[in-house]
Amino acid sequence: MAEEDIRMFPNMVTPNNPVIFDKSVCNGCNNCVATCVMDILMPNPEKGKPPIILYPDECWYDGVCVTACPVWQKGAITLNHPINQRARFKRKATGEHFRIGMPNPPPPNNKPPVSGWDAKP
C-alpha cells in the first residue's frame, strides 16, 4: 500500500493526551483556556473550535478545565489519565478485576457526589 504523504515528525512529548475534546459538543468558549493553572491550552485560531493542547506534558490533571466548561456533562471535555496513572479495582462480590480505561468496561455508575455536582451553602 503506497502512501504518498508521509512526513517526518519528532517524537511526541509524554504523556500527550491529557484531555479529550468532543468537537461536536465544544463551542470554543475558551473557559478552559482561561482557568488552566499551567496555561497549557491555547485558543484555536478558528473561532468556535476546541482549544489546542499545546503543552500536554505540563498537565497536572486537576480537572479545573472540565468543571469550567459549561457543557462538560455533555462530554465536551473529558480528563484522560495516562496509562501509568490508571488505577485498578476489584468487585468484592465476584472478584472481577477492572481498571480505568479498560476495553469493555463495566457500565458507568451515574450516581452524583453528595449534594450534587455544584454544591453551594
Binding site: 504523556p15 493553572v37 499551567m38 489546542i52 498537565c59 488505577a87 479495582f89 477492572f98 457526589p113 453528595v114
Partner: protein, 653 residues
C-alpha cells in the same frame, strides 16, 4: 540542523507579544501569589481600606497549592462543638513535632481558622450538612450540622464541600476592588536603593502570554507563593511535572526572590522522602487509609482485614474506635502516623511488608499479607463510606473530576468495589522540601505581624517556614493582609531603583534574545539530578561543595545558554533559574547545620551524632552583599502565644 529550523509554518502565538514593554502600577498593598494565602491577604488588606493589587502566575480563579479545592478544614478548635482550646491545640501541634514547627502561625490558625471557615460559607462555600444527608452520623454535630474528620471526640477538623473554594475567595477579592493581574510571573523583589536586605518597595513581573514587563510598587507587600515543589524530581513520564501533592508551577519563585533580596530563611535544610512513585495525578485515587481516606478498612488480596491498633498497640475491634482517642487521652492529632509524640498519637493501621507504611513505622511491627492491598469501602459503615467517597472525594476540586467522575464513569462503585493500593515508595534520592504531611518546608522567618526580616514585606501561607496547609494559608493570609494594610498607612512612598529594574530586565529577557541553546526541560532535569546526587538522603560537606560547584558551572554554562521561543517558554526558563537558585540556597542551608536531625529529615555522614542538644534550634541563613550569613533562632521564639496573639491582633475595622 534542528528539526524546528525546517518548520516554516508553525501556528502563530495566539497573544500579542511585546517583550520588555513596561507597565508600571502602584498600590498600598501588593500581594504576590494568588493562591489561598494571597487571596485572603488581598481580602484582609482591602477590608482595611487599602488599595490592593494581586499578581498571579496562573489563573487566580483556580491557582495555588490549595487552588483546586479543599476537603479538610483543619484547626477549627473554636467551633462550638470542639472539646479543646486553641492554646492546648497549638501547644500540641508544637509538641507533636518536638517544637519543629512554626509556633506563631500554628496559634494564629488555631484561633482564627473557624472564623475563616465561617467567612468561606458567606462567600459561597458549603461548610455544613444543611440538607441532613448525614443525620445521626457519628462525625456530625447535630447543633451546628458541621461534619468532622479524624478525632470524633475532640472535633477540631471539619469536612467541607470545598470544590469552589478558590472561585469563592476570587470573587470576594474582586468584589472588594482588588486589582488582579493573572498570568504574570513575579521575577524579582524591588528593594530600596536596589540593596540586598533593604525595605521591599515592590516587584517586577513578566507576562507569560504577552512577554510584557511589569513594575509593581507597593507601600507594603505580602508574599504568598508557597515553597519549592519541583526541586529534586523532574520526569513528565513518571509523575508529570510534579512529584508532590501540589501543582507543578509551584517552583519556589517566592523563595528564590526572597533569597536574592536578602531575607532571613529558616529550616531550608529540611527534606523528606518524596516522589512516591506513580499514581501522582489521581491523588487520593488509590486505595489507602490516610488523609481523605482516614480510616478506611484495608484488606489484602484474600480479603483478610489489616488490623488497626491504638497508640499502645492494642488491636481496635470496631471502625468507630479508629476515630476516638485512646482511654485517658484527650485528643489525637490527625492520625495515621501524623503525631510521632505518644501524647498525641492516634490510631493507626499496622504496616504491611512490601507496602510503604506510615512514616516511622517500626519494621518489627510489619505484618505479612498477600499483596496487593485494597481499600474496602463496601465494608465501611454506610455513612463513613459516603462521607469519604461521596463528599471528600466528590466535593474536593482536585478529586471531583480526576477521581469521582473518572472512576464512576469507568464503573467504579464504592458500594461494591475494592480500590487497589500500591507500594508508594520512590527512589531513595528523591526528596521533597520540608517535613511532608501538613507541615510545609523551610522559608522566611516572620514576626508576630508576619513581617519577614525585610521591612515592608509580609509572608503568608506555605511561603512561611514550617507553616501548615489550607486553613493555615487562610488564617495567615488574612492576618498578613491586615498587617500590611496597617503598615502601608504610615509607610513612605515606595521608590524603585532604576538600576535594579534595568538589571532585572536584562536578566529576565536574555533567553528570548537567543535563537538556540538549552531548553527549560533539560535544564530542570539537570538541576534536579544535582539535587539528587549531592543533596539526597545523606549529606556531607564534600557532597554539598561538589553540588554547589555543579550549580556554579550550570549558572555560567548551560543556564547562560537557555533559550525560549515564546513568553510561555520564557516563564518556564525563569522558573528553572529559580529552582537553581533555590538549590544553592538549600545546599547552603545544609552546610550551616553540622549535625544530623531527625525532625528535619537531615542526615550528615560527617556529623553522624543525631539530635545533639546544642543544635536543637533553627539555623537561619541570608545573603548579604552576595555572601551567605548564618544565624540562629530558638525553637520557642514565638514566646507566649496567647499574649502575643492578643497584642498583635488587628481589630477589624
Amino acid at each position: 540542523m534542528n528539526y524546528e529550523e525546517l518548520i516554516k509554518d508553525a501556528p502563530r502565538w495566539p497573544y500579542p507579544v511585546n517583550y520588555g514593554k513596561e507597565n508600571e502600577v502602584a498600590c498600598d498593598v501588593l500581594v504576590l501569589g494568588g493562591g489561598i494565602a494571597g487571596c485572603w491577604a488581598a481580602i484582609g488588606a482591602a477590608r482595611e481600606g487599602a488599595k490592593v493589587i494581586l499578581v498571579e502566575k496562573g489563573a487566580t480563579v483556580s491557582s495555588g497549592a490549595g487552588g483546586s479545592g479543599v476537603d479538610h478544614w483543619h484547626c477549627v478548635v473554636t467551633n462550638p462543638a470542639s472539646k479543646i482550646s486553641p492554646e492546648e491545640f497549638a501547644q500540641a501541634l508544637l509538641d507533636s513535632r518536638g517544637g519543629w514547627r512554626n509556633g506563631i502561625t500554628g496559634y494564629i490558625t488555631s484561633r482564627d481558622s473557624y472564623d475563616c471557615l465561617l467567612e468561606m460559607e458567606k462567600m459561597g462555600m458549603r461548610i455544613r450538612d444543611s440538607d441532613d444527608e448525614f443525620k445521626g452520623a457519628e462525625f456530625r454535630d447535630e447543633a451546628t450540622k458541621l461534619l468532622f474528620a479524624y478525632d470524633y471526640t475532640a472535633k477540631y477538623c471539619a469536612r467541607v464541600w470545598g470544590h469552589n473554594v478558590k472561585e469563592s475567595v476570587y470573587k470576594e477579592a474582586r468584589r472588594l476592588g482588588v486589582k488582579i493581574y493573572d498570568h504574570v510571573f513575579i521575577s524579582s523583589l524591588l528593594t530600596a536603593g536596589g540593596k540586598q536586605g533593604s525595605r521591599v518597595v515592590g516587584a517586577t513581573g513578566v507576562n507569560a502570554r504577552t512577554g510584557e514587563f511589569y513594575i509593581f510598587k507597593g507601600k507594603a507587600t505580602v508574599i504568598g507563593m508557597y515553597f519549592p515543589q519541583r526541586q529534586w524530581i523532574f520526569s513528565t513520564e513518571i509523575r508529570g511535572l510534579t512529584y508532590s501533592h501540589r501543582t507543578p508551577n509551584l517552583t519556589g519563585d517566592g523563595h528564590a526572590i526572597l533569597w536574592q533580596a536578602g531575607a532571613v530563611m529558616a529550616g531550608v535544610e529540611a527534606s523528606s522522602p518524596g516522589g512516591a512513585g506513580p499514581y501522582g495525578f489521581p491523588q487520593y485515587g488509590y486505595g489507602n487509609a490516610q488523609n481523605t481516606w482516614y480510616a478506611c478498612t484495608m484488606v489484602d488480596s484474600n480479603g483478610k482485614e489489616i488490623p488497626w491498633v491504638d497508640r499502645d498497640g492494642n488491636v481496635l475491634k470496631t471502625v468507630s474506635e479508629r476515630y476516638r482517642p485512646a482511654p485517658g487521652q484527650r485528643f489525637f492529632i490527625s492520625g495515621g502516623g501524623e503525631g510521632p509524640d505518644y501524647r498525641y498519637r492516634g490510631p493507626s493501621m499496622l504496616p504491611v511488608k512490601g507496602q510503604a507504611g506510615p512514616p516511622g513505622a517500626a519494621p518489627d511491627k510489619m505484618i505479612e499479607a498477600e499483596l496487593p492491598l485494597y481499600a474496602d469501602l463496601p465494608s465501611m459503615p454506610e455513612q463513613e463510606r459516603r462521607v469519604i467517597f461521596g463528599l471528600m472525594i466528590g466535593q474536593e476540586g482536585k478529586t471531583v473530576i480526576p477521581i469521582y467522575r473518572t472512576y464512576t464513569q469507568a464503573g467504579f462503585d464504592p458500594d461494591k468495589d475494592l480500590l487497589q493500593s500500591y507500594s508508594l515508595t520512590g527512589a531513595p534520592q528523591w526528596r521533597q522540601m520540608g517535613g511532608g504531611g501538613v507541615i510545609s518546608g523551610g522559608g522566611p522567618v516572620v514576626d508576630w505581624n508576619l513581617m519577614t526580616s525585610l521591612e515592608g514585606l509580609f509572608a503568608a501561607g506555605g511561603q512561611i517556614f514550617f507553616n501548615g496547609d489550607h486553613a493555615y494559608a487562610a488564617a495567615t493570609g488574612r492576618w498578613a493582609g491586615q498587617h500590611a494594610a496597617k503598615y502601608a498607612v504610615s509607610a513612605a512612598e515606595p521608590k524603585a531603583a532604576r538600576q535594579q529594574i534595568d538589571a532585572e530586565k536584562t536578566r529576565a529577557y536574555a533567553p528570548v534574545m537567543r535563537k538556540n541553546g538549552i531548553e527549560w526541560k533539560e535544564l530542570n532535569a539537570g538541576v534536579c539530578k544535582v539535587m539528587q546526587d549531592y543533596c539526597g538522603g545523606v549529606k556531607s560537606e564534600t557532597l554539598l561543595k561538589l553540588g554547589l560547584k555543579w550549580f556554579e558551572e550550570i549558572k555560567t554554562g548551560e543556564a547562560a545558554s537557555a533559550f525560549a521561543r515564546n513568553p510561555h517558554e520564557l516563564v518556564r526558563v525563569l522558573e528553572v533559574f529559580n529552582i537553581l537558585t533555590n538549590g544553592e540556597m538549600i545546599m547552603e542551608g545544609c552546610r550551616v547545620r553540622p549535625a544530623s536531625n531527625t525532625a528535619l529529615g537531615f542526615t550528615r555522614s560527617d556529623y553522624p551524632q543525631v539530635n545533639p542538644p546544642e543544635w536543637q534550634k533553627w539555623i537561619t541563613i541570608r545573603q548579604d552583599e552576595g555572601k551567605v550569613k548564618s544565624g540562629e533562632l530558638s525553637l520557642d521564639y514565638h514566646g507566649d502565644i496567647k499574649k502575643n496573639y492578643e497584642a498583635h491582633s488587628v481589630k477589624r475595622s
